[in-house]
Symmetry: D2
Subunit: 144 residues, 4 copies
């Protein structure tokens, strides 16, 4: 029996000036841009690369974000973003992210997002691909 | 007996090119920038204006965001953001936002955020101002 | 004889956290977002509003930016952006902007940009509207 | 006789959703964020890394940007940014960038920026490091 794989991704970011604000730390919105980069690479691993999206106009659209800011990063910090597919539903899927500071492995951010596949420009939500359910829906956590 | 006031704010935004992405609608992160503008004006109404923050380095820092994307806005849409203080705790407070498209009053976004007052650059969380509790903690909803 | 009008615009911005970086001042890129807002309102005055662009997919596209950073703005500063049409060519037009800090009228930024009207998604540059040449090309400065 | 080295950098970016706008191509401001990343890595090669800046509060500040938009990039394009030190003056230095689309090597963007080293929070411009002049000022182009 084949164990289903949970799609996962690890990305890295160096904190730039444009990520920070005058409080001296990374601005709360900048983390979400870094998470989008990780999410896009995760989607690419699941068969949805950007070029394909650009051609088909079938886009994954964020429908909910929950993000907890635990510790803050500073200019020059190297960050590690770990992401994974968390749950598949009929027309939505959930992804989860954790961001760490590389220097001391401190957990800075936890985030979960739900997404729908939406056909643009009609903005029509589509069912998730059948092979996602087959390939990724093995764990109890995903059976929902 | 004086009824305590719930601090509230209404702001407006016109959707610009920089708010949109190639899906043809407003990018999910752009709404959070608009919400930050509303949140900043709400904080100003509660006695924390930007100039004062800039001088004292006592900043309201977002500790959690929950945002639901219900409908999407497009280039040129005029948006109305309604915000209010939702709850006061000892070192955190919660604010809530709802974004509407002005043309048809469609509800696009609901969002709640918790914030802490943090003294920079030490990053030391401070108690909320005593007068906030007196002025704003009248309603049952806030008694927590 | 009717004097041709030079299209002009004045907009205002309050410096928000997301505009600043850890240097304690407004980030160089944030000024360009503010200038885009002014430019969009200027275009609207010239008959190109966002809703119209969104429908026709005829967009003004920046082909060159020159920006000089003279003084910097800080959190909470109120800024005034003055913009005007500077020159009309056959397929390009130039706009100019000056940004001031309201509190002391200090000049912070000067900027000029050239734009082309581009029909998307073919990305085909179009001639400027004939009535622009009639209405706006009166001054010597624009006769080029 | 030792040939002076011209500091150079090459970076890469994949075009993400947040880089694009509803015109279907990369937004003009997004290229400047990519250029900032390249510029920061170039500065790091010249001995000014972000951690060092964060500690000393001696920051390179953009004083002028000139950018020409020649062709546009789209979602999923892989971009190559080539940067180099172009000229050293007493209190300013110039850097130049060229952006290419990897798939067909098309030149998309040319950009030059002048920067000053500024001691924050006093905002006092500093002379360029003496060793920069020694190490990098060999070429005729830089003798100015």
């Amino acid at each position: 029996m084949i164990e289903p794989q949970i799609p996962e991704i690890v990305t890295h970011e160096d904190v730039m000036f444009f990520d920070t604000d005058c409080g001296g730390v990374v601005h709360n919105i900048a983390y979400l841009r870094m998470i989008e980069t990780a999410r896009t690479r995760l989607a690419s691993n699941m068969g949805m690369d950007l070029k394909h999206m650009s051609d088909t106009k079938l886009f994954p659209v964020v429908t909910r974000t929950e993000i907890d800011y635990k510790r803050s990063a500073q200019l020059g910090d190297r960050l590690r973003i770990e992401g994974s597919l968390a749950k598949l539903q009929r027309v939505r899927f959930w992804v989860e992210f954790r961001m760490y500071r590389e220097s001391d492995d401190a957990l800075l951010i936890t985030c979960r997002q739900s997404l729908a596949l939406v056909q643009m420009p009609e903005a029509a939500p589509q069912r998730l691909p059948a092979d996602w359910l087959e390939n990724y829906r093995g764990s109890d956590e995903n059976r929902e």
